[in-house]
Point group: C4
Chain length 201, copies 4
């Protein structure tokens, strides 16, 4: 089995998920005089679209990075990847929910759980392919493998924190949701150096 | 004609189908106090999304496996593949139906028929490309070709069983629908060994 | 510029169009006792989905065939291809219209016009890339180029016929719409031989 | 990291956006005698679909051109590309808005802003990859890099003009929106020659 089709299929799913997010921002059907007002009410939906686009984008970059180290593919690898994609494909639903009820606690909690599931399935995928270096190059160091695991699980901590804060202040929850991808977007010399070293070893 | 575009197009269709499934889980528009209740009512839809995601995933893996043995492509191969994709592309409809009416007999029956059609068209596709080894490598054994046919048709038996049971207990129908993909996900040494042997011969 | 991205992008558009067609077959929201009746009323929509799937499938196969002869790509080639894809991307609308109003004249006429536009833009694309053999291999014969043009324009004649017949009997219109793709699906030794000869020359 | 997956993912997003545009042209549900009238009322939506298809098409061609010069990919390149795709993925919303309210000022303005954002993020992407020739071939001339920047920012000027004119005559706004892609579709010897020279140097 080829890594090529695994990547093409995953890219397809990521591309569709990231583009479908806008579908939920529906054009309001109102009287013309109310149009501007109705459009302003759409702002939370547009913001939740942008937030999820950035988060799905960071998942795509993370997937891209993991794939660099993948060297062999078998049926189990396909399935672990599919379970990660299952959690990615689910994101449009909590995103739309957040856009519809931006000030409610439940959508904020479900959003955090949904994102956490992506990180958790992604981590399981990573542990599976690096376990005994069965599907990655044999000289990949354990410390790097553990480092990637740590980087994948760290956001779960923040998402959990965001869920806890939703009981106190939803604004803080949103700030946390925004900070997590920023942490991955901003060039992080520490992360970049470790990936590069692991890849060139 | 190249196998490459056939795979890319099929991957595209599979990726879109598997991602579109979530589209049918629509955000409920209710009063804020009723939101949690409305979300609980969505659980059957989310479960039918997960079930169909896994089933479409197993079809993708099966397609992937068949493609490994394909060596030549002509117009007829494209068309037999297209008819398989037609039945795959249809899945979102019975899935949405099942999510909307989870306790009704008709959706359970249509779901089983819809899945059976994928297995049947997939089997026809496989028989066509392996017939007289016209489109697969010439040393592919007949016994392996028959084994794949058997593996593809076996689920139809279970889907038929599930349809029959829907007249007695829909719960049993659901259990059968869930068991079929599990059978393909769980590493099955017998299947894996035969595929590997056939591929390396 | 590479032919590769042109193909990948076109495959993407074809795959999405062919999969989106099912989206228009929406799950009916009715009382449980009326479900079976409501599902029977969906039959025209399902048939128009199947019809359009087969027609878009035959366009994809035709595109695939044309691409085999393409050897160079420039901006103009991208644009002529894009205009063909524009007409392909439009198909889901007349398909949904046909499914909603299967016994009305206007949808039948619009469907024929929509399909004709794909054939016409496809022909223009073909004439452009074969004109003076600028973008195809230099030994492609004029007679083959004209033969492909003929094969691409022939369906337009039938679609026009179907439109004319819609004023007399819509059933005949449907039969014609179905016959055209069948003509392309069934192995046609004449067409296949000419394509093969042209490709191997 | 490979340029290959960056292109495949971007092609996926472009293909989905360009195909999703038609989704917003929904089949009218009316009495049969009113169907023709209802279809005529859809004309603005169909025109806005065609306009956006052409504009997204020209963005795809522009992206294609930029990619020709890209030689290296790192995480930052992925992110700058993702931000460009974010603005592309947003286009279906203002397109649908324009189709729903074709004679209102606000949709015309939002459409211009939305398109401008694509050009601006695209320009930032281009400046980033050409800055100090970090991600493009080292002999790419500064004058060519500036020329591409100019070509990317020129439409923003026209979109701004279109926004200003929307306060006087929306018809003029539409003419401007149509002229911009025409400028890119029609073979422009000046642009083509410069791209070719830069690529072959």
């Amino acid at each position: 089995m080829t890594k090529n089709r695994l990547e093409a299929f995953s890219d397809g799913v990521f591309a569709i998920v990231i583009t479908l997010l806008i579908i939920e921002v529906r054009v309001p059907i109102v009287e013309k005089v109310q149009l501007n007002h109705a459009l302003i009410e759409l702002v939370p939906k547009i913001l939740s679209f942008i937030l999820s686009f950035i988060i799905v984008g960071s998942y795509w970059v993370a997937h891209h990075t993991m794939m660099q180290f993948l060297e062999k593919v078998n049926r189990s690898v396909l399935w672990f990847n599919l379970f990660t994609l299952l959690t990615v494909a689910f994101i449009p639903f909590p995103t739309a929910l957040l856009g519809e009820y931006p000030y409610e606690k439940t959508p904020v909690i479900l959003y955090g759980i949904s994102l956490s599931l992506v990180n958790i399935t992604g981590t399981i995928f990573w542990r599976f392919i690096t376990y005994k270096k069965r599907f990655v190059k044999h000289n990949l160091s354990d410390s790097f493998s553990n480092f990637v695991t740590f980087i994948h699980l760290l956001p779960v901590l923040f998402y959990m924190l965001s869920i806890v804060f939703s009981f106190i202040s939803i604004t803080i929850s949103y700030i946390i949701y925004l900070l997590v991808p920023l942490f991955f977007i901003l060039p992080n010399p520490l992360i970049l150096k470790r990936i590069k070293t692991a890849y060139n070893e």
